[in-house]
């Protein structure tokens, strides 16, 4: 009984905070929009007895999902989100890996400090940090002022409200999520492996590609998924830093909910987004499990 209750806690947690909300969203996505509060129909009416429940289920349909296929806005938004998420994950990896690598190579007494510096941005609100980027990237912003002052450019660059600004914002925000798992994989690596590789005839560079990179693979996968998954549904960064042409599914979702007040379509968008994300989430879980197995040995 004790054991059962122990196991039950996380499951109740998942049930209450994931499965039930998901079922509610799923139900809304199968409903029709209505000028009412809440703005969809039908409502489940237990007072009406069995007949009412039957009528309720009869009213549910996949209309909204069909609608998503008719308007190319949606699949364009999904594709564009995927593209932005993939590209920014790539950039985050390119920037994060060398940082994590040099952290892991740093003298042991420096590592806690470096680690803290990576985590430090979390001490400030995420929104404030994104707003700060608006201050930096705008036409009159710090970056343009600096470039104009140094004479590198004569006209201010338009960065804010473009996809470039979105990439900058995403890479900046999610960089720690890339650095930390890669760092933890690299830090565990035994230096003598590199010496062994050199001893067996590798140059430093080939030792890096043949030993370091494969051994930090789990860290790379974890970092990429930790960046990719939230980026795909990202809303704040594209809406604050992106322009009208920045199409991301998070923004579409928000607009359906709050501008159009079309909860059923918005729910359908969310369900599809979730289905898309399930694949990387499963991959992430597999990766974690593999890592645990490898360490368990």
């Amino acid at each position: 009984m004790r054991r059962f209750s122990l196991i039950a806690v996380p499951y109740i947690w998942l049930l209450a905070l994931f499965l039930i909300p998901f079922l509610i969203v799923l139900k809304i996505s199968l409903s029709d929009a209505a000028l009412a509060i809440p703005p969809y129909a039908p409502q489940l009416d237990f007072a009406g007895g069995w007949g009412a429940v039957k009528a309720f289920f009869a009213d549910l349909d996949f209309e909204n999902f069909e609608f998503l296929t008719t308007d190319d806005l949606y699949w364009k938004a999904y594709l564009s989100s995927l593209k932005i998420a993939l590209i920014s994950t790539g950039f985050t990896l390119l920037i994060g890996y060398p940082i994590a690598y040099s952290m892991a190579r740093a003298a042991p007494e420096w590592r806690p400090t470096l680690l803290m510096l990576v985590i430090l941005p979390f001490w400030t609100s995420f929104l404030i940090r994104v707003y700060a980027w608006m201050g930096i990237l705008s036409n009159e912003g710090l970056l343009n002022q600096f470039l104009l002052w140094s004479g590198l450019i004569s006209e201010p660059l338009t960065i804010l409200n473009t996809n470039t600004a979105v990439y900058i914002g995403i890479v900046y925000t999610y960089l720690p999520f890339m650095i930390l798992p890669i760092y933890s994989a690299l830090e565990k690596m035994d230096d003598s492996l590199l010496e062994a590789a050199e001893d067996l005839g590798c140059s430093r560079t080939s030792a890096f590609w043949l030993v370091t990179v494969p051994l930090s693979k789990t860290g790379i996968i974890a970092g990429c998924l930790l960046v990719f998954i939230p980026t795909l549904g990202e809303f704040v960064i594209p809406s604050l830093l992106g322009g009208s042409q920045t199409l991301m599914i998070g923004k579409v979702l928000w607009e359906e909910f709050f501008n159009n007040r079309d909860w059923p379509v918005a729910s359908a968008v969310a369900i599809i987004l979730l289905l898309i994300l399930i694949i990387p989430i499963i991959l992430f879980q597999r990766n974690e499990q593999k890592q645990r197995e490898a360490e368990g040995q």
């Binding site: 492996l193 050199e198 067996l200 590798c202 494969p214 051994l215």
Partner: protein, 446 residues
């Protein structure tokens, strides 16, 4: 043993060494890890670097591997100066202490790793890897990952991987440190076997003296960045050149005293050398000097014939049974050598293998506990000291007796437990004789 005595390139002036350390010094900041070291190592040797941690043995090996460069001096391998040659350009392979197997590669790929870095053909690589797998009896595990095999198997993979490229020189850094004792012993013999089969020069670093003695053709005992003694295991053990070496290799009793030339060739404690040779039958006490005789000797004769030797306390003549027991152990002292004066209350120790030019010096007498014999009756041995058993350490096969000699000097004697423990006749607080031959120990200067 017979083979090892034949293999002595270090004594052959025509042999040129494979490895030459020439005045090599290595400093890490203020710390001197290797201090002006010069040493030759010959091809096909199994050379052991032995010492406590921090003595510089690992640094020496890492310099051979190319992971460290000397601060000054040169290291030559096969006549070529290696100071600026990176590890991947050396015909040297290393077996790491942690084995450093690549966890993401299978055993097969681990062994093939070094070969794939060369321009060897695929088929040749495969053949070589299989040969290595066979040599180390790992055929069955070829497709496993390193974490799926046992410690002993991992050790063999590490060995196979470092041998795969057929290096001129194989470095082994505490290769057996992670194995338990039984496995370690088996693996030591395997190592020697493989070394013989492949004809590779092995340099092994270890802090385990037993391991060094077992596998090596020569052992270098190191301390504080210097090599103290380089010799074959038996010489290191039987004839250490310093008390440090004597103390580091195995157990040793150290007795400090001044030496003098032995006056007569006759064994001092034995009354009649002739009789000894014929297995003394009657031991009638020889005439003892009276007070006057002693006075004359001490005051007048001692500068000429040396100090009077105190006859040690005489026991009643042995019974026939005792004689029969001691006949087997009957020993007689050789001529010459030195006498060690170390205590007023004890007889001098005869060291017939002592260097006679050292007359008058203060030296330390070193003797191994197992070279001491312990008995309740006075034995017939050139050296016999009286004492009392303070403690006994029972180790199963042997027992170590801690004997306090007259005057307080503690001495360890080790005896094989030929009898069962219950039948041991010597016990705590017993008055005993500790005896040893005149050549059992050595005199050391420092």
């Amino acid at each position: 043993m017979a083979q090892e005595t034949l293999f002595e390139p270090w004594n052959d002036p025509n042999e040129s060494p494979l490895i030459q350390f020439k005045n090599v010094t290595k400093k890490f900041g203020d710390f001197t890890a290797i201090d002006d070291l010069t040493q030759d190592i010959y091809a096909k040797e199994f050379f052991a670097l032995l010492g406590p941690s921090g003595c510089g043995k690992t640094t020496m090996m890492r310099m051979l591997g190319g992971f460290e460069t000397p601060t000054s001096g040169t290291i030559q391998i096969a006549g070529q100066d290696m100071n600026n040659v990176p590890p991947n350009k050396r015909a040297v392979n290393m077996m790491f202490q942690s084995y450093a197997l690549f966890p993401h590669l299978s055993i097969y790929e681990n062994i093939a790793f070094g070969l794939r870095r060369t321009d060897m053909a695929k088929g040749a690589i495969d053949a070589r890897v299989n040969e290595m797998l066979k040599l180390t009896r790992l055929e069955k595990f070829a497709q496993r990952k390193p974490h799926q095999i046992s410690g002993g198997q991992r050790q063999r993979v590490a060995l196979a991987r470092s041998l795969a490229k057929a290096p001129k020189l194989l470095l082994l850094d505490e290769p057996l440190g992670a194995l338990d004792k039984k496995l370690r012993q088996d693996t030591q013999f395997e190592l020697m076997d493989i070394q013989e089969k492949t004809g590779t020069t092995f340099v092994i670093v270890t802090h385990d003296q037993e391991e060094a003695m077992t596998v090596a053709s020569r052992v270098a005992v190191m301390d504080e960045g210097r090599i103290i003694q380089v010799a074959t295991p038996d010489v290191i053990y039987e004839a250490p050149n310093t008390t440090y070496v004597a103390d580091f290799i195995g157990d040793v009793n150290l007795i400090k005293g001044t030496v003098e030339l032995r006056v007569s060739s006759a064994p001092v404690n034995d009354p009649e050398p002739g009789a000894v040779a014929e297995n003394i039958v009657d031991e009638t006490p020889s005439p003892q000097p009276n007070k006057l005789g002693e006075w004359i000797h001490d005051k007048l004769l001692s500068p000429i014939i040396g100090e009077r030797i105190e006859p040690i306390k005489r026991l009643p003549p042995p019974s026939t049974a005792e004689l029969a027991a001691s006949q087997e152990k009957m020993q007689t002292a050789q001529d010459g050598g030195l006498l060690l004066n170390w205590s007023d209350k004890n007889p001098t120790i005869i060291v017939s293998n002592g260097d006679e030019t050292k007359d008058g010096a203060t030296l330390t007498f070193a003797i191994r506990p197992e070279k001491l014999n312990i008995s309740k009756t006075k034995p017939d041995a050139p050296n016999a000291l009286q004492g009392k058993v303070i403690d006994i350490a029972y180790l199963g096969n042997v027992s170590t007796y801690y004997v306090e000699l007259i005057g307080g000097q503690m001495i360890k004697a080790q005896m094989a437990n030929a009898r069962r423990l219950a039948r041991r006749d010597i016990t705590w607080e017993d008055d005993v004789w500790v005896s040893f031959t005149d050549t059992a120990g050595v005199l050391l200067e420092r």
